[in-house]
């Protein structure tokens, strides 16, 4: 059964079809959230929340974009909302600890740590998200704008300036 059939059945209330759809997109969603949050626990929690929201709003999915893109849109907005709620909390220390743990895991696997991840973690998520969506997932500026509720020009400048920043930070690190 292909995705379109599953979506059609899920919209009619078929639990099995909806479950299959969610199962098929689960790994993609966790991986996306992992890249934008850089925090495994937050990524897991947001995946659960996204799935709950998807179950509630499946009737509203109009098929204009791919199902996975629709999920990314929900996840992105949930992450933005969460960040807005927790803005006052100073959680940089927690993020630092998470990164240290990831570095330790990488070292245990005899892998070299990617400095670019440290830089990405320092960037504001409002800039990190469009960079990941544009340069890793290949979405257009317009699509990202729709996902994040921003103007296309805003997305473009955020990606461009963000990337310049990453390049500068990388150059500084390499220069050390």
């Amino acid at each position: 059964m292909d995705e379109k059939d599953l979506i059609r059945k899920a919209k009619k209330g078929d639990t099995l079809a909806l479950s299959k759809l969610l199962q098929q997109n689960y790994s993609f969603l966790v991986k996306y959230l992992m890249k934008v949050t850089l925090h495994p626990q937050v990524a897991e929690d947001l995946t659960q929340e996204t799935m709950m929201k998807c179950i509630e709003k499946i009737q509203l999915y109009n098929g204009e974009s791919k199902f996975s893109s629709w999920l990314i849109t929900i996840a992105t907005n949930l992450f933005i909302d969460q960040k807005r709620r927790k803005k006052l909390e100073n959680n940089w220390l927690e993020q630092e600890q998470v990164l240290r743990k990831m570095k330790w895991n990488a070292a245990n696997m005899n892998e070299d740590w990617a400095d670019v991840l440290d830089i990405l973690a320092q960037i504001d998520e409002g800039i990190r998200m469009p960079i990941v969506l544009k340069h890793y997932y290949g979405y257009s500026y317009g699509e990202i704008g729709k996902m994040m509720g921003l103007a296309e020009g805003t997305v473009k400048s955020r990606v461009s300036n963000g990337l310049k920043n990453v390049r500068k930070e990388l150059a500084d690190l390499e220069g050390l």
């Binding site: 991986k31 799935m51 709950m52």
Partner: protein, 114 residues
Amino acid sequence: MKDYDSKNSNSMLDDEEELTVKQLTDGLEKLDQWNPVSTPNLQWFQQNVELEKKRIRKKQWKDLLTFISVAVLVLSVVIAVVYRQPILFLYFQLVGIILLPVALNKTRKKVSNE
């Protein structure tokens, strides 16, 4: 010459940008390798979907009951006022009509669509 220089610097910039993008995607791919995702079985998803649907149905019923209760209360108050003190009802209507343009002109906050 200037043109050539600017083209040259542009292509250098593009190369640098490409290199940054490459480093970025490599780093993110490594992140996937270090954090492998294990997808739960279909039964787990079915249970969650069922539970969530049940919770949504319960919430919808609760919302409907709250709505009906509030509606009945408001209607009762209005009917009581009309019968007991019709002049007060007219005052309320007048205030409503005056405030209507203000309420309609109020700019609505844009919400992101999911």
